[in-house]
């Protein structure tokens, strides 16, 4: 069983990393031939970094759009960030100071993450417009995240697993040393679901995470009059003339 999970994890990580890098490479390699920032837009690179930071950290545009979606979405994402960082303790020895510091917050973030996810799902289920645009995969994605969160919370608050052994297993994995994984059903479920998430990531709407950084309406500087912007394929049109 430990071996099976090891193979699964290696494969999932491979798919995740290669798939994601490949996707990012495609985005980066695809030209943006025209200046299309949604204005008013920053006129300097520094300004663009700030705009992007506000977008990624505070979900500025979503805030303008809809407070319910924003609050649930932000709660979920912020909690997810904390929870993920907290999980670094299972991959580092000794545990980094700041990881140890956020540990208690990370635990409660599991609860707020669940709240956020449920809020988003309620919206998807009961707001007519959002239900209309939802595909089965949209619901399944929420279900997957909720299942990961719930299985994690159960291990935290109800049926503890042997975290020392789990940590040993993952530290081992990182050194290509397959150790024994506690055969605990909840843990198995949790890990299975996480590998699923990793595999699905590069092929699904989760690509919004890298995508936002490549969005021309957000990442372009508003200086078209001051500097000539020309993509390679557009430049060719001029040389053919």
């Amino acid at each position: 069983m430990s071996m099976l999970f090891a193979i699964l994890f290696y494969l999932a990580t491979l798919v995740f990393v290669v798939g994601l890098l490949q996707r990012i490479r495609t985005y980066a390699a695809t030209p943006a031939p025209l200046k299309i920032p949604t204005t008013p837009a920053p006129t300097t690179t520094g300004g663009v970094v700030l705009r992007m930071t506000r977008e990624v950290v505070f979900f500025e545009s979503l805030f303008k759009a809809n407070l319910w979606t924003w609050s649930m979405g932000w709660l979920f994402h912020a909690s997810l960030a904390l929870v993920t960082l907290r999980h670094l303790r299972y991959f580092t020895e000794p545990v980094w100071g700041w990881v140890a510091f956020i540990q208690p917050f990370g635990i409660y973030a599991g609860i707020t993450m669940l709240l956020g996810l449920c809020g988003l799902w309620v919206r998807r289920l009961f707001v007519e417009r959002i239900r209309y645009i939802s595909t089965p995969s949209d619901h399944l994605m929420l279900l997957l995240l909720i299942a990961i969160t719930v299985s994690g919370l159960l291990m935290q608050f109800v049926a503890h697993t042997d975290v020392v052994a789990v940590k040993g297993y993952f530290i081992g994995l990182m050194h290509l040393d397959i150790r024994v994984l506690p055969s605990d059903l909840l843990l198995m479920l949790h890990l299975m679901l996480v590998t699923t998430l990793l595999v699905v990531f590069p092929f699904s709407k989760l690509l919004h995470a890298p995508g936002v950084f490549f969005s021309p309406t957000r990442n372009q500087t508003d200086n078209p009059r001051e500097k000539r912007h020309l993509s390679a394929w557009a430049a060719k049109l001029e040389s053919e003339k």
Partner: protein, 510 residues
């Protein structure tokens, strides 16, 4: 068309309930063989349209990062779902920006992603059938590319980019829209969207000189094709032809007169509008823009000023430097752009919006006004979508909002803002932009104007507003047409330079 009526105002602007297929149909008139072939598109739907369309989609995905990222990034959060004026006015769920994008995204998933190839039902992927294609034609011609949705999307997904791609694909297989394609043909052939030939243009301009002389006693000139003029004015051809557009043209001429600017129009480049953008076709966009470059080079002008036209200002401000070199900052070895940029005077922004030109003159105290001439007006300002969300004026972000307002306040005493959720970057499209300003879409246009009409009604009721100024030829034409259907006087709409024209003092009669 007499049976087209305005939808009722919402009591409080709540999100409307869905009315599926409320706007299902055939869409606007399809372009004829003659119209399509004149601009290099297949005359009618080609036999292997399916394969051609998918191939074109693949090509566009590799040429436009926007399209590529936007096809992947949407999470169906619904932030945009209640932001489109056409959705608000029609309640058709396919007019929600996300649903409109999904018309294409579903096909993208089917042909370009692994999950869509393996589990189409699960991820909402669809084959490109004839029904889907017809749906594209109908609903991608119900988007005015106003970008309001892109303001609210957490990933900045711009439905305009998707609509442009869809129309580009449709054109490439011979399924183009009559209104836009016919107009593009006229620009190439005659030099402007109207098809106004040189002699008619000259006759119109001479008539204007007479009119202004009669009204003011001053010889204000409307020069055309003058070599060596300092300023080349590029303005929408509607300014030569339609009401109230022409009053703003008179306003520009008076500003040039009062500032002692030598200026000229061009009979070759007698159009600011560029419908190449509406159909998402880079070649057309570029070819139309190159007419202006050619005119500028030929006339040897130092500055290029653009008249009141919303999408034209987006193209001029954001794209001209890329397309034709009208701008600054080309590389040393960029001979194509340098050829023009060496000629232009870079103490000024190139291109300059007429509002920037006028506001600059006002700030220099080069213009004087008799504000009382506008006292009969209680004025509000409608931000035009392309100016608001696809361009800038002046040095600071948001100058496109401040400068026109500053001008109005400088030439008139009574100015009132409409509700802030509907102005500046959150402004609503007039309902006729993006190549939809055609009589066969009048029902859609009337419905799309609903959110603007609602807030206009508010300021009419509360402040007695009787004039809505705007700086876009499409807005002017659209409002003139649809406002009477909402019970407003069509003369309530006009240009910012119409107000300038009313109040400007030109000096003593000679």
């Amino acid at each position: 068309m007499a049976d087209i009526t305005a939808p009722a105002y919402r009591i409080i602007p709540i999100v409307p309930a869905l009315k599926p297929d409320a706007m299902a149909g055939k869409g606007p008139f399809v372009a004829s063989d003659k119209i399509n072939e004149a601009i290099g598109f297949p005359g009618q739907l080609v036999e292997d349209w399916h394969d051609k369309a998918i191939a074109k989609m693949g090509e566009l995905l590799s040429k436009y990062r926007s399209l590529k990222v936007y096809m992947d990034a949407c999470v169906h959060c619904g932030a945009c779902s209640d932001k489109c004026h056409y959705f608000i006015g029609t309640q058709d769920p396919k007019n929600m920006p996300v649903a409109r994008q999904d018309l294409m995204r579903s096909v993208y998933r089917r042909y370009f992603t692994l999950p869509g190839k393996l589990f189409p039902k699960l991820v909402g992927a669809r084959d490109l059938t004839r029904e889907v294609l017809d749906e594209w034609y109908n609903y991608f011609n119900q988007c005015s590319e106003c970008r309001r949705c892109s303001v609210f999307c957490p990933y900045g997904i711009d439905t305009a980019e998707v609509t442009m791609a869809a129309r580009e694909i449709l054109d490439s297989i011979g399924y183009g829209q009559k209104y836009s394609n016919e107009i593009i043909g006229k620009v190439h052939k005659i030099g402007n969207n109207l098809g106004l030939p040189g002699p008619a243009l000259i006759d119109t301009l001479e008539g204007l000189e007479e009119d202004v002389k009669e009204a003011t006693g001053i010889d204000v000139r409307f020069p055309i094709d003058v070599k060596g003029a300092e300023v080349l004015l590029i303005t929408p051809s509607a300014d030569f032809f339609a009401e109230p557009h022409i009053d703003s043209l008179i306003g520009y001429a008076k500003v040039f007169h009062a500032t002692g600017t030598s200026w000229t129009l061009s009979s070759m480049a007698s159009e600011a509008g560029n419908f190449g953008m509406f159909i998402g076709n880079y070649d057309q966009l570029r070819k139309i823009a190159l007419r202006i470059r050619e005119a500028a080079l030929e006339l040897g002008v130092k500055r290029i000023v653009v008249g009141e036209c919303g999408h034209a200002w987006r193209v001029a401000y954001s794209f001209w430097n890329t397309l034709s070199g009208v701008g600054d900052g080309a590389g040393e070895v960029d001979r194509f752009a340098q050829m023009l940029q060496k000629q232009l005077d870079h103490r000024y922004k190139q291109p300059t919006h007429i509002c920037e030109f006028t506001w600059d003159a006002i700030e220099r105290n080069a213009l004087t006004f008799d504000k009382a001439k506008n006292d009969k007006h209680i004025i509000t300002f409608h931000d035009s979508c392309n100016v608001a969300r696809g361009s800038r004026m002046g040095d600071l972000p948001g100058g496109q909002f401040e400068i026109p307002r500053n001008i109005i306040k400088a030439v008139a005493s009574n100015f009132v803002e409409m509700s802030p959720e509907t102005t500046r970057e959150q402004t609503f499209c007039c309902g006729g932009g993006g190549g939809l300003l055609t009589d066969d879409l009048l029902d859609l246009r009337v419905k799309g104007a609903l959110p603007r009409m609602e807030v206009l009604q508010q300021v009419v009721d509360e402040h007695g507003v009787n004039f809505m100024a705007t700086i876009c030829a499409i807005c002017k034409a659209q409002f003139t047409k649809v406002m009477p259907i909402y019970g407003f006087d069509r003369r309530m709409v006009g240009g910012v330079h119409q107000l300038v024209s009313n109040a400007i003092i030109l000096g003593e009669e000679k």
